[in-house]
Amino acid sequence: MAHANETTSPPSAGPAAPSGPVRKKTLRQSDRRGVFGDKLFSGLAMAAGIAILVLLAFVALFLSSSSGRALYSEDEGLIVGQFLQYAMPLVGGTIIASIIALGLAAPVAIGVALFISHFAPPRASRSIGYVIDLLAAIPSVVYGAWGMSFLAPAMVPVYRWLHENLGWFPLFAGNPSGTGRTILTAGIVLAVMILPIITSVSREIFIQTPKLHEEAALALGATRWEMIKMAVFPFARAGIISGIMLGLGRALGETMAVALVLSGGALTASLISTGNQTIPAEIALNFPEAGPGSERQAQLIAIGLVLFIITLVVNMIARWIVSRNKEFSGAN
């Protein structure tokens, strides 16, 4: 610095003399440019983060405070056992429906996403991607109507066949439903509903796989599928899990489609007979009749809280899976 000064300004002017419009910079004086923007942006980001937390806290608070009467009544004292007896089958039904939905949707979605990103010719892949995104925009009530009036009747003979040939297996035991409106049908409808979101997220991440790593695998003599296993899947793992979690979130919370498709009942392992109910559908179907402030309403809100907790736990598990082996994630 001093050396530069000597060569650019006459010695008599001294090192501090500003020459022309150039502002002299010192270390302590910060460059004002951008400081305001930085502050504004970090303030906004912080505010958004806090707002989300506050919102979440309010939801949790509302759910817990209004569900108190489901766990405690003045005449009988603590009635947790009673509540659990009511809630557990619904939890079971919700989980069964979600597992069916994920089990069917995730492999198909990943396959479709791979096809779009790595196998289809560019023009075809663009139109397939477009159709998939359209599927995501269909309102759930439409899926519900389709499931109830088209899919359910179509499944009746399938259920009968499953019962006759695989009836020894607990999942296919029991009386096959005459209407086809079973938990399996509901699960299939849910699978169709969550297919687009998982596909979109996976495709997005598959496309981003670094060419560098794909070529590394190919140059070692990998076939296309081996290249995908070696370079694409490891890179996309976290993204696939995020996509599945988004799909799962939708499946767990889906109300309308399940309410329309499923003719609910008690918890049963059989997927082909009537029975089972999911939490969102149970709430939607019964909330209108439950009087404001009644114990029934508190009970419904309480199972809403249970659903909220299930979703949180599932997301935490997913985060944990993603963060495990972070060292090897390729993020560094």
Partner: protein, 259 residues
């Protein structure tokens, strides 16, 4: 192990664009050959045709013959996957698999060709390959750490180890040192000198001292102008190319005068 490469009237196209025209070259087994030439003259393009890696790029295709010993790798019965397992490639930017440990990176090729290795066999393969790539001493205590945690030069040597682990016949290198510091560059040049005892090595480089240091023969590619195809101008002993080339273009290029 090591094979001769012989290109006969090879043209390379990207779609309708003729990128490289009429290459005839005969590369000896157990030798190092350098490809030099100005940017865009088709060195990478031609190098990729030596193991059919150009087929990965959309629209790229080849006319002519490329013989590996006596087999034309563009014969319809030949599977590009087989070609690539015999002709390994090291890229300009180090590209170890980030989700794999150092050890698994070295063994990646074995995982592909389906060879089942016992623990002791695979230990031996890993040690041999890493020693062959002059990397063993630096990583022997952290074989289970991710390959992406190494320095750039180490990552590049890991990529070389991964390539030589499967014992290919030919090793292609596309500017392997361009992202590295002088020390790592020297380490890799030493390594190339050792590799030529076992393999046929072809290296693309922009660094003429490097070409002079590592190669026995040098091929000079040039391009007449944008949109024109790149051509092999001169191919000869490296000492001759750099001291007494027979073509004017070559002389201009190696002496730093263009056009």
């Amino acid at each position: 192990m090591s094979k001769r490469i012989n290109a006969i009237d090879l043209n390379v196209y990207y779609g309708d664009f003729l990128a490289v025209e009429g290459v005839n070259i005969d590369i000896e087994p157990r030798s190092v050959t350098a490809f030099i030439g100005p940017s865009g003259c088709g060195k990478t393009t031609f190098l990729r045709t030596l193991n059919r890696m150009h087929e990965v790029l959309p629209g790229a295709r080849v006319e002519g013959q490329l013989l590996l010993d006596d087999d034309n790798i563009y014969d319809t019965a030949v599977d590009p996957v087989t070609v690539r397992s015999m002709v390994g490639m090291v890229f300009q930017r180090p590209n170890p698999f980030p989700t794999m440990s150092i050890r698994d990176n070295v063994l990646a090729g074995y995982k592909l060709n389906g060879t089942r290795l016992s623990r002791s066999q695979s230990d031996q393969v890993v040690e041999e390959a890493l020693k062959g790539a002059n990397l063993w001493n630096e990583v022997k205590d952290r074989l289970d750490k991710p390959g992406s945690g190494l320095s750039g030069g180490q990552q590049q040597r890991l990529c070389i180890a991964r390539t030589i682990a499967v014992k290919p016949d030919v090793i292609l290198m596309d500017e392997p040192c361009s992202a590295l510091d002088p020390i790592s560059t020297l380490a890799i040049e030493d390594l190339i000198n050792e590799l030529k005892d076992t393999y046929t090595v072809v290296i693309v480089t922009h660094n003429m001292q490097q070409a002079a240091r590592v190669s026995e023969k040098t091929a000079f590619f040039n391009i007449a102008g944008t949109g024109k195809p790149g051509k092999l101008i001169e191919y000869d002993e490296t000492t001759k190319i750099f001291s007494n080339p027979s073509k004017k273009d070559t002389e201009n290029y190696v002496s730093g005068r263009f056009g």
